[in-house]
């Protein structure tokens, strides 16, 4: 079992950098099995893309601050941005499971799945805004 130093990143708010940052964070996750690591990677990418697309609106020069700490029991991730963010109530109201009629192709969701994935994968997740900083804190245990 490997130990890792905390990972601190400040990355440009672009989709490509979101991808690279996700890979850096997931590199800490050698205590997950293949399936859990894939789930975790997806959830991390979802939030970073959300920040790039919606909080910053692809604004150039914007940055995302990331801290990931791989502890003995869990990995704790904090992601901060200073974009427009989202209303905390909207985050809280997002479901943790996607419900749709699988027999009606025309009504299948094409978007809005990111928060569902994050809430489904993380054991605890908290989002809040404070003095212009949007902060997501998410914890996922190595073993569920």
């Amino acid at each position: 079992m490997n130990s890792h130093q905390p990972l601190y990143l400040v990355v440009p708010a672009t989709l490509l950098d979101a991808r690279l940052a996700t890979e850096r964070i997931v590199a800490l996750c050698d205590r997950f099995d293949t399936e859990d690591r894939a789930d975790y990677a997806t959830a991390v990418m979802e939030w970073l893309v959300n920040v790039v697309k919606h909080s910053y609106g692809h604004a150039s020069g914007a940055q995302i601050r990331i801290c990931a700490i791989a502890g003995p029991e869990a990995i704790e991730l904090t992601i901060e941005d200073s974009g427009q963010g989202m209303a905390p109530w909207k985050f809280d109201a997002a479901p943790s499971e996607l419900n749709f009629d699988a027999t009606d192709i025309s009504k299948l969701p094409e978007s809005g799945m990111g928060l569902v994935i994050i809430k489904s994968v993380m054991d605890s997740v908290r989002y809040h805004r404070d003095r212009g900083i949007n902060r997501l804190t998410a914890v996922r245990r190595w073993q569920r």
Binding site: L15, L16, A18, R19, T34, E35, A38, D39, A41, T42, M45, E46, V49, V52, K53, E97, L98, F100, A102, I105, S106, L108, P109, E110, S111, M113, G114, V116, I117, S120, V121
Partner: protein, 109 residues
């Protein structure tokens, strides 16, 4: 974005030659697939065997393709890796998208 087309068994087999189908390439993937459908291809096999990661943007583009085909076409997916299956299960889209263990099975179905 690299894609490779092959006509086989009455299907257009599209192989995505990328490791990731995510927000970075989702829009261009969707446009490329819609172009193929609009050219008249109605039976499509999507080979994702080289894709080891997909996020909801990538998944959304696949769902868009399925919708664009409508009820008169079919989209079969093969080569689903654990990284792709993860997002299908998380979103329960594994109930909707038709996946197959092999390319031949996807073509024959």
């Amino acid at each position: 974005m690299l894609m490779e087309d092959l006509s086989e068994g009455g299907c257009l087999v599209v192989s995505l030659r990328e490791k990731r189908l995510d927000a970075v390439i989702a829009a261009s993937f969707r446009e490329a697939m819609v172009a193929r459908i609009d050219q008249g291809h109605r039976n499509i096999v999507l080979d994702l065997s080289q894709v080891n990661f997909m996020d909801s943007s990538g998944l959304g583009s696949v769902v868009y393709v399925l919708k664009h085909l409508g009820h008169t076409g079919r989209l079969h997916i093969c080569g689903v890796t654990p990284g792709v299956m993860a997002v299908l299960k998380l979103t329960r889209m594994d109930r909707v998208l038709k996946t197959f263990d092999s390319r031949q099975a996807a073509i024959a179905a």
